[in-house]
Symmetry: C2
Subunit: 184 residues, 2 copies
DNA sequence: TGTTTTAGATGACGTGTATCATCTAAAACA
DNA sequence: TGTTTTAGATGATACACGTCATCTAAAACA
């Protein structure tokens, strides 16, 4: 049990940060330190060697999540003809039933807004803030303010999640999708 | 201390439901049964005479909140010239710094989406669902889908709350306000 | 006024969980 | 190969909270 190779150890240090996608799925309060470490195959003990506290994990998790999101945006741009196509593609995916049903992946803002709004350090708030701002810029279009688009996406996704099960859920996704993709 | 008049008792039964605005402020998990009862001037003991469990309070609180929101919309319509003016007024208020800073009041959806998405009974989800649907209808405009507007408002408010303190917070409010009120 | 009812108070109980002190064996290095 | 270092395991502590059984005094009613 104790002592793995130095390389392993370094790698392990990253894993709780990734496992913190549980935060996005269930909400910070519904994830225990044990849950996180168990998801990584370790026991709760080692946690406090790496992190000050459970609270301190949130900003690291947020940073990690926003980084991968940024990476995904770049990829998206590279994979299609022009930026407009990328934007359209992003919106489609963002408002897909699959994204609705898997909060652990993709948009960190959707999973964390509320938790961040309530408890967080300035650092964490800044991460969210600039994450949203960046997305807003990326979504900018001639006739439409990207920041507004970002808010619409976020709101729609959250409503769709809360309404999951009801027909309104899918309806919201589709109606918003239509509105954002067609002109003006 | 025990035993108040029958009328008082009936009235008291309503008060925890109102006090559950704390749910919207802090999130369900950060409000204890004691907090709720204390807010009402009572002790935690009486709670379980009135409610099955803490969980059972959420739907009642949600219903209460959506009811008062509906009432406010009606009032708004009565207080201004036409429906369009009422809509404009609503959006202004919804995206005001004051609304941002007082999550206990006004929009129940903004305070509860996440909590409802995660844990709730079908009943609670339905409350949110129809609350959003109703608001969407109310916000409908010739050129703009009301449901989409509702999502935009929600998203903007949540971002503004999470970003509170940063300049982006106010910027989001203003930018979205501008986009929703000007034509198209 | 005496009896009955019951709103609300008190005080436990059990559980879940963050945190920390301590222990261990294996890796690293001599 | 012997010594030192340390990643991670174990177990204990402390506390917050939901829930409930029990108690009380005053209101309701005769």
């Amino acid at each position: 049990m104790p002592r793995v190779s130095r390389a392993q150890a370094v790698q392990n240090r990253e894993r709780p940060v990734q496992a913190a996608e549980l935060f996005r799925e269930r909400g910070v309060d519904h994830v225990s330190v044990q849950d996180i470490m168990a998801a990584v195959g370790l026991t709760h003990g080692g946690f406090y060697r790496q992190f000050e506290s459970k609270e301190a994990l949130l900003p690291e998790a947020a940073r990690h999540a926003y980084d991968s999101m940024a990476a995904r945006l770049t990829e998206l741009d590279a994979s299609v003809a022009d930026h407009t196509a990328a934007q359209r593609r992003f919106i489609q995916t963002y408002l897909s039933p699959s994204h609705r049903d898997h909060p652990g992946q993709d948009c960190p803002t959707a999973g964390l807004v509320q938790d961040i709004a309530r408890t967080s350090s300035a650092e964490t708030r800044d991460l969210l803030t600039s994450g949203v701002a960046d997305l807003g810029e990326w979504l900018d279009q001639p006739g439409r303010d990207g920041l507004v688009t970002a808010c619409t996406l976020l709101g729609a996704l959250l409503v769709a999640r809360a309404a999951a099960g009801s027909p309104l859920s899918t309806q919201v996704l589709e109606q918003v999708r239509a509105a954002l993709i067609s002109p003006t």
